[in-house]
Symmetry: C2
Subunit: 341 residues, 2 copies
């Protein structure tokens, strides 16, 4: 049998476990050109909250009663596709289910990998979140050595990579995160220059103290009042890559935007949204550089690994509770093959 | 005697005539290296509202009790500077006064012009507002032929030029302005493809009807709810040059920003503020092209010319009442020289 979590209803505001429902379905059998993949790790990203809405986002909404979408790492257990063999490890849209049928036209797709790093890396630092940090920081933020870079959601999957890349690029880097433990991790484990605990500190006041010459690049994962505080402290000609706005994802009505947008004119600031699919033709370049930094110890993979099929919905909610430290994944199974496990 | 209007008090919110005060001062006499300029035309720009505030803007605040700052066209009536002669026509920061002393280190400065076009053009289409439209639209907005370009404040000084340049660049251009007369001017006189009257129409709904494929460039002069409506209707990879936010200039507290900033991510939109001084080294290039378009009849100078020293403050208020059609200027005197008058 194939255990699955379906999208049962669309949240109005806060997402809860009640929006999902378990189902057991017969183990699928592949048609010509299809494969069956056993899910090993499930990936959780804040953007998945948007897929649950009926509103048009940048992904089509997940139909009610369908398997909840999610990236994952899996192992091919049956193949009717000439390019894939049993035992191959793949990364792709596997969904919240133990087994996924991957085919040409369906909603799920996968790419074969040759794992040199631990499997969760392919969902985080070498996956969509790592590439998002890489292209968002470098292409949109355009930091130069000596710049002051501020990253919100800095203990999250994308933020922790963006902050570390900024350090590699010889910037002064300040991370914003919630709680003393996360902030300690940012400075002590990841080597950031400073951290601001938004749960116990006044973010605007601390940015003013820590960035006397202003912020050159503000890599934003959260939006809301943190974005407003950062705009107040931007330097002339600063750049704001907009990566995410998690502070508003569960709001019934979007909160008002920053009141200080006029400063974008006065300080000639560029604020620019980006999405990783636009960089598709440069994924390999980014992945290679991230992989080299990871192998050289210049980048650390911050990963939060939960376990168990039953815990899939509650693990998703950790993102919005700020409970995850780094990339949130859940382990469903061990690979049969021993390489890369 | 030299009649002047001084900044008497800083407005909290709405600016009124009571914030200014008349003074008569002795006619100044120039020191070595200085000139005395008789003001012929005074220029009025929404940005001057910001100069009245104590808050740091992009210009130092005008000290209380000082002559209100403003650009103007004037005529040299006395010169102790070798590069200037009596009768020369100059453009520069002359202030709200009949005579200005222009010197090296003072707050007022001027540049000699050789007028080929009517004098108000040098404050509007060939002055700061024209150059603002030119560099803001072309460098920040980067329109390509066939793009849909929307301009707010389109019947204003900068907007009317930006909209016409977008037409020259073979874009489909929609202007937003207040009132039927302004809208008729935009379509009938300036040749825009459509106009939206924000006073009598629902801007968001009309943008949806008029821009079925989305807005590629939104040149924003007003901010507020118009900006929010435009963001709703931006096309993928759209650009928003932020030129001004007149809707908020007289607010006691800045109004909340747009609630839909998340769309900047979903649609990969670049929103970028700019100020014309940054383009200083390309002013001549811009002025030459604007001058050629003007001479060829491809650009029309939309000008609103008031008269009389006593009417200076009330003419300034016209900008915030939406009373001006095109560039707001006030004529103080005829040039003694007949050329270019």
């Amino acid at each position: 049998m194939n255990r699955q979590w379906l999208l049962k209803s669309r949240p109005q505001g806060q997402v809860t476990e009640a929006h999902f429902e378990r189902r057991e379905a017969p183990l699928p059998s592949p048609k010509d050109g299809e494969l069956v993949v056993r899910t090993l790790y499930v990936s959780f990203d804040p953007a998945m909250r948007g897929w649950m809405n009926e509103d048009p986002g940048y992904m089509p909404p997940i139909p009610l009663g369908s398997v909840m979408g999610a990236s994952g790492v899996g192992e091919v257990i049956e193949s009717r596709h000439q390019d894939y063999q049993i035992g191959d490890i793949v990364v792709g849209m596997l969904g919240w289910q133990e087994y996924a049928v991957i085919g040409e036209g369906g909603p799920f797709a996968a790419q074969k990998i040759d794992p040199e790093h631990p499997l969760p890396s392919y969902l985080g630092i070498l996956g969509g979140t790592g590439l998002t940090a890489y292209f968002g920081l470098l292409d949109v933020g355009k930091p130069t050595p000596g710049d002051t870079v501020v990253v919100s959601g800095a203990a999250g999957a994308t933020g922790s990579v963006a902050a570390q890349i900024a350090k590699i690029k010889q910037c002064r880097v300040i991370g914003i995160a919630g709680g003393a433990a996360k902030c300690r991790c940012l400075t002590d484990d990841l080597g950031l220059d400073a951290a601001i605990d938004y749960k116990s500190e006044n973010v605007g006041a601390r940015l003013g103290e820590l960035c006397p010459n202003g912020i050159n690049v503000y890599f934003d994962n959260v939006g809301g009042s943190t974005l407003e505080a950062a705009i107040d402290h931007m330097a002339l000609h600063g750049r704001i890559p907009l990566c995410g706005m998690i502070s508003g994802y569960n709001a019934e009505q979007s909160p008002p935007g920053p009141r200080n947008l006029f400063l974008l004119i006065a300080k000639r600031i560029r604020m620019e949204g980006f999405l990783i699919p636009d960089y598709f033709d440069r994924f390999e370049v980014g992945r290679r550089e991230l992989s080299e930094w990871l192998a050289a110890g210049q980048l650390k993979a911050l990963e939060d690994v939960q376990e168990g099929f039953d815990n899939i919905p509650s693990t998703f909610l950790r993102l919005f509770q700020g409970a995850n430290l780094g990339k949130q994944v859940l382990k469903l199974a061990e690979p049969s093959a021993t390489e890369g496990a």
